[in-house]
């Protein structure tokens, strides 16, 4: 497993969707599994409903914390437009896992611009594996629409090495007590999605 290859996961979403918490859990799990891990993100302006990006890189030895353009193995999107926006970072033979959700940016909400149509199809035109996930629905099923980040992590976890126990431990470590149960449930529901 611990070859020289570095794996790159880019997580994108809209401020408030829990993108940063998801990448936090992911990097904790990967460290526990024995990888060198780096994670980069920008706080500040990004939080107020703006676009949020988090880079996670892992392998035997990682240098840059940001993923070079065109080298992301997985583009993991919490919202359609934001996923589309970062398309140039993902490898043509990579994977896109995207939550089937549209959040209107201000110009669209004001009726001045239109939200790009058929994003999933457009993604498919550039990247080999594109998977559309009904994260919102599963999060509601788990009992809280805000757990969509954990649902998606569950889906991602199927494709990665760490064990179920390691994931659960990391979630317990990082999710506040009062949201823990619903997040664990969301994670389980996410694991039923196979990426």
């Amino acid at each position: 497993m611990k070859s020289d290859v570095v794996t790159n996961i880019l997580m994108v979403g809209v401020g408030g969707q829990g993108t940063l918490l998801a990448s936090e859990i992911l990097s904790e799990v990967l460290m526990q599994a024995g990888y060198d891990v780096k994670k980069a993100e920008v706080h500040g302006m990004a939080q107020r409903g703006g676009s949020v990006v988090s880079h996670v890189r892992f392998g035997k030895k990682v240098f840059s914390s940001i993923i070079p353009e065109g080298e992301a193995d997985v583009l993991f999107g919490f919202e359609l437009l934001e996923t589309y926006r970062y398309l140039s970072l993902v490898k043509p033979e990579g994977t896109v896992v995207v939550n089937n959700l549209r959040i209107a940016p201000p110009s669209v909400a004001l009726g001045q611009r239109t939200y790009p149509a058929e994003i999933a199809d457009k993604l498919q035109g550039h990247v080999k594996n594109v998977q559309l996930v009904e994260g919102q629905q599963l999060a509601e099923e788990a009992g809280n629409p805000r757990t969509v980040n954990t649902v998606l992590l569950g889906a991602l976890s199927n494709a990665l090495e760490p064990t179920q126990e390691q994931w659960v431990a990391a979630i317990k470590n990082l999710v506040p007590e009062r949201f823990l149960e619903v997040n664990l449930k969301a994670f389980e529901l996410g694991r039923t999605i196979h990426t």
Partner: protein, 588 residues
């Protein structure tokens, strides 16, 4: 030793604990803010927010003169504010170690300029370390305290957004068991910088730099990584990581101390290669000094001077076959940051827009009042500038234009550097109007307390500055307070005060909806009755993220829709609707 994954900021906080720091002071600023927030977990450190960076550094200096180790943190532009004490501290030197962490923001992810703080090290004649990951952030911060005491100098540690906000694996060290003895110690020749004393200190400062430059040639933080080929690369900080990514086998001189430069080491390294590259983010700081040593290097002629470096940009700079990237062939609607739903600032800017005020702005969440559709900010320079700008502007305008000038400033920004501006506005007998947007917190940087919020960094209650009394004491005769959720009342008050040919201050008071203290009243979300909505779009002029336009089909002209999950129930939108289309949602 325990391994963990830490951000650069968390690592610096940990290092302060390990190094036996006793006092930590700061003013928040992205990307430096989390250092102090993380330090609060270490009981033995007295950590506090200061009203601005100058005060933060002065507090640190006081602690260090008492014999304690002190950490002071700020963002890059904060050093502009703290520069005055810094430059003379370079002369006095320290008693306990003093480390000033400055976090730069290449690419301006959350800043108004892209200044390169390394220039301050040279300008102020003080040493500067620059870590390349979280492990080095920890190791160098700890080391910086020893170096500070060894060379009797304040030490700068430069971080950048990609160091402060990137996480990487760190092995923790063992904290020192004993803290330094503190006491009063008089040493006027060293601590009292009058001309006579300063003239004696200055040559010592020059000598100190020369000694350090020689010493640094043999220290492990400046290291040569052997490699292949005829090109040798000199780099430092996060640029080292990108260099390694792009030139995996190249010989590298990686600098940990970026000021003063280890000249002998650089000469020895450069002599071994046909070509030398200097790869650094922002200014040609190392490049110019190496060139001044008579060594030809390739640097900014290839590596961009603006914006942050990335492995991709570096590859492009050296024409190293960058990959073909997928291109999106349609313009995408941008997603800029926006004020939160229920933000108390929104209604104020809605009013300023309607009153066609000329708004001298300032820095905080309210700067987002610049964005359409609020579009009510006409200048923004630096923290505190709004008030002085308004005074100056009003001086040169005719009476009817003078009335249009309104300065807006947040509570934290007002206490940072706005108070002097207001004092001057009264002193200058100005006609301008000032609005203090008091949301009881320092919102933009993640909601830190400040002297007007009534809480300390520790969470403890403390004295709360009375803003009204403060303004009156500066000589402002007309001080009014209003709830910005009351749209008409707020706008009418602004209109009246704008017309008044004297200084007046309006304090709009309402807590930030994300405030950390439990002071918010819960308000039920609103809904739009689509049948009552006449599609006038008046509510859309608020730019609230919770209101979305539903375009009509066929006969329908469309209608506004509220996202109940986002709505905070502030009901400002309700007050913009002349047709009573907004109401509290039915409990369904």
């Amino acid at each position: 030793m325990q391994k963990t994954i830490l951000s650069g900021n968390e690592a610096i906080a940990r290092a302060a604990f390990e190094a036996g720091v006793q006092v930590a002071s700061a003013y928040p600023g992205t990307p430096s803010t989390e250092i102090l927030e993380n330090i609060t977990q270490y009981q033995r450190i007295d950590a506090s927010w200061s009203p601005n960076e100058k005060v933060a550094l002065e507090v640190g200096i006081g602690a260090c003169f008492g014999g304690a180790r002190a950490l002071v943190t700020m963002k890059h532009v904060g050093v502009n504010v703290a520069a005055d004490p810094l430059f003379t501290l370079a002369y006095t030197g320290v008693r306990g170690g003093l480390v000033l962490v400055v976090a730069d923001d290449p690419e301006m992810h959350s800043s108004q300029n892209e200044q390169d703080s390394r220039n301050y090290a040279k300008f102020a004649k003080v040493p500067m370390f620059e870590p390349a990951d979280s492990q080095e952030a920890l190791d160098f911060t700890r080391l910086a305290f020893d170096v500070s005491e060894q060379f009797d100098a304040p030490v700068l540690l430069r971080s950048t957004t990609r160091i402060s906000h990137s996480k990487s694996v760190v092995t923790l060290g063992t904290p020192v068991a004993e803290l330094a003895e503190t006491s009063l110690k008089r040493d006027p020749g060293k601590f009292v910088m009058l001309p006579g004393n300063a003239r004696i200190r200055h040559p010592l400062i020059e000598q100190r730099l020369e000694e350090m430059a020689e010493w640094a040639c043999d220290q492990p933080f400046n290291r040569i990584e052997e490699g292949e080929g005829e090109i040798g690369i000199i780099t430092a900080g996060v640029a080292y990581q990108y260099t390694r990514e792009v030139f995996p086998d190249a010989p590298i001189l990686k600098l940990g101390l970026v000021h003063p430069l280890p000249k002998r080491l650089i000469r020895e390294f450069a002599a071994r290669f046909k070509t030398i590259y200097v790869i650094e983010e922002l200014d040609p700081f190392i490049e110019e000094q190496v060139k001044a040593m008579g060594i030809p290097v390739i640097g900014k002629e290839k590596v961009p001077i603006c914006g942050e470096l990335t492995p991709w940009r570096l590859r492009k700079a050296f024409d190293l076959n960058p990959l073909e990237l997928a291109e999106i062939d349609e313009p995408l609607p941008p997603r800029p940051p926006n004020m939160c739903p229920g933000c108390p600032h929104r209604g104020v800017f809605h009013g300023l827009n309607r009153l066609k005020a000329f708004v001298t702005g300032d820095i905080g969440c309210y700067t987002l009042g610049f964005m359409p559709p609020l579009s009510a900010m006409d200048s923004c320079i630096c923290m505190g500038a709004s008030i002085g700008n308004a005074t100056g502007l009003a001086k040169v305008l005719k009476a009817e234009e003078q009335q249009k000038v309104v300065a807006v400033i947040g509570d934290s920004t007002f206490l940072h550097t706005g108070v002097n501006g207001l004092m001057d506005m009264v002193y200058a007998d100005s006609t301008a109007t000032v609005i203090i947007l008091d949301n009881s917190t320092t919102g933009m940087t993640g909601r830190q307390d400040n002297p007007a919020s009534g809480y300390a960094l520790s969470g403890q209650k403390t004295y709360q500055v009375d803003l009204e009394a403060l303004c009156r004491s500066l000589g402002v005769k007309h001080v009014h307070t209003v709830d910005p959720y009351l749209l008409d009342e707020t706008r009418n008050l602004i209109r009246e005060e704008m017309a008044r040919p004297e200084v007046s201050v309006i304090i709009t008071r309402r807590p930030c909806v994300l405030i950390k203290h439990d002071v918010l009243e819960k308000r039920p979300p609103l809904c739009v009755d689509a049948d009552k909505c006449t599609a006038c779009k008046a509510c859309l002029k608020l730019g609230c993220p919770a209101i979305e336009w539903s375009p009509g089909e066929g006969e329908s002209k469309g209608f506004a829709k509220v996202d109940r999950l986002l709505c905070m129930g502030c009901s400002v939108c309700m007050q913009t609707c002349k047709f009573g289309a907004f109401g509290v949602c039915d409990e369904k």
